[in-house]
Symmetry: C2
Subunit: 258 residues, 2 copies
């Protein structure tokens, strides 16, 4: 184990966004870290790093999040987590396991892009209000085809390990498990009806989600002010008109019958 | 250097797609590899691996490409390249450099997703013909805002290294340089007018593209039957109606004036 280091996470102060995958890893491990942009004067520091890079950094980041660890500066969520994984005991010690975890993280990143694009299918620089009909069509296909495909894949990965398997890779929790938890949290926030309708088919994914939420450091973090609530500036946004209309109707009908 | 190994690349036989980033790295390095699905019986082998994983693999891939290297099986393009980089002499030997290259690869991957979604903004499972008006709007924003932002970023990264810098990171060619070449090739194929209109602002990116294309192993590969031509089943598709209409008009007017 290397000497204990204070990590600097650079990410927007107002949203969970992609930075949240890094925050969860740092929190779960009880790592020493500073969430730079949330400190006084931190936004200025973030913008300066975006412009200048670090003293010894070979480049500048395209976008937050980026992590500064001593002399090292790493951008892109999956790259940050691949670096942190073994250091925070959130990845296996063997190479095959580390690549398996990275591969899952990248598949989750693909899902995250698609989740974002449900509300911004035409352009990320445009207002949601100017692409609402397109957002409705994309959201419906997302819930009917893409979420079942992605989460069904993760369900199968957990099932592969047999009845004793609790995590995506091997016998202990990795950063990909924390990220799967976060994706579930986000999807449930954005699409409560759509996700409720899928729950029956994802028992292992949902159980893994709950196991992550019960980890002491994660539970403490989630109930702390450090956890920024979901909101309509982030990746996962709750626009009721995008949530599964059929699932919503079914839920209403059932409520009436009671 | 480890014992020489025969790599197995698993990817669709009919398109460049994401597999092309791996093909370029293997070709540039002169590595021993088999493009499995393009061999007789190879598609069956690919489908079996998708279903069963490898004997010692902790999971199955979500999607091709995946690479088999001895007992190791790795999916997700950026993860494959991060693994291959130091082994093929296409990444720096130091950790900071390796993460810088990985970070660039992931930023290029983000651009690739957006390039794909220009023709499929609503749903990847739908026909292009059923999302054509949306594809036009998205393509316009892509060419006006996103391509200049991404490629302008890479232009600045090359400029950072000063006049002697020829590559994205450090003093030698990495897999991220090969990938930037491929992204340029794809964008020029898909949007000849849109990209011509941007060329003036990207002298370093275009020079890097040319340097990659002149590398002996890359030049030999590009003129061999192993290089699958671009087509309308891949990521980069040439639909003339999506190419920059203003740039097209300007080019036509100029031709008339001659």
């Amino acid at each position: 184990m290397a000497r204990r280091i204070t990590y600097e996470l650079y990410y927007w102060a107002e949203i969970q966004g992609r930075g949240e995958f890094v925050r969860l890893a740092l929190e779960d491990a009880g790592a020493d870290y500073v969430d730079v942009a949330r400190e006084p004067g931190g936004m200025k520091k973030l913008m300066k790093r975006m412009r200048d890079g670090g003293a010894s950094s070979p480049g500048t980041p395209f976008a937050p999040p980026f992590l500064v660890a001593g002399k090292l500066s790493i951008a892109q969520t999956a790259a940050i987590l691949h670096y942190l994984g073994p250091r925070l005991n959130l990845a296996p010690s063997n190479e095959a396991g580390q690549y398996a975890v990275l591969q899952h993280q990248l598949t989750l990143a693909d899902l995250v892009v698609e989740a974002h694009d449900t509300h911004h299918p035409i352009g990320s620089g445009m207002y949601y209000e100017d692409q609402k009909p397109e957002a409705k069509r994309r959201s419906q296909l997302f819930l009917e085809e893409r979420v079942p495909k992605f989460l069904g894949y993760f369900e199968a990965q957990i099932a592969r390990g047999g009845p004793r398997q609790s995590w995506l890779v091997g016998r202990s929790c990795s950063y990909a498990d924390l990220s799967l938890f976060q994706v579930l949290e986000g999807l449930r926030y954005a699409f409560p009806h759509g996700m409720a309708a899928l729950a029956r088919k994802l028992p292992r994914v949902n159980a893994l989600h709950d196991r992550v939420g019960e980890r002491p450091n994660i539970a403490a973090y989630l109930s702390s002010p450090r956890r920024i609530p979901f909101n309509e500036q982030g990746i996962f946004r709750h626009y009721p008109e995008l949530d599964a209309p059929e699932a919503k109707r079914a839920a209403r009908a059932q409520k009436k019958r009671r």
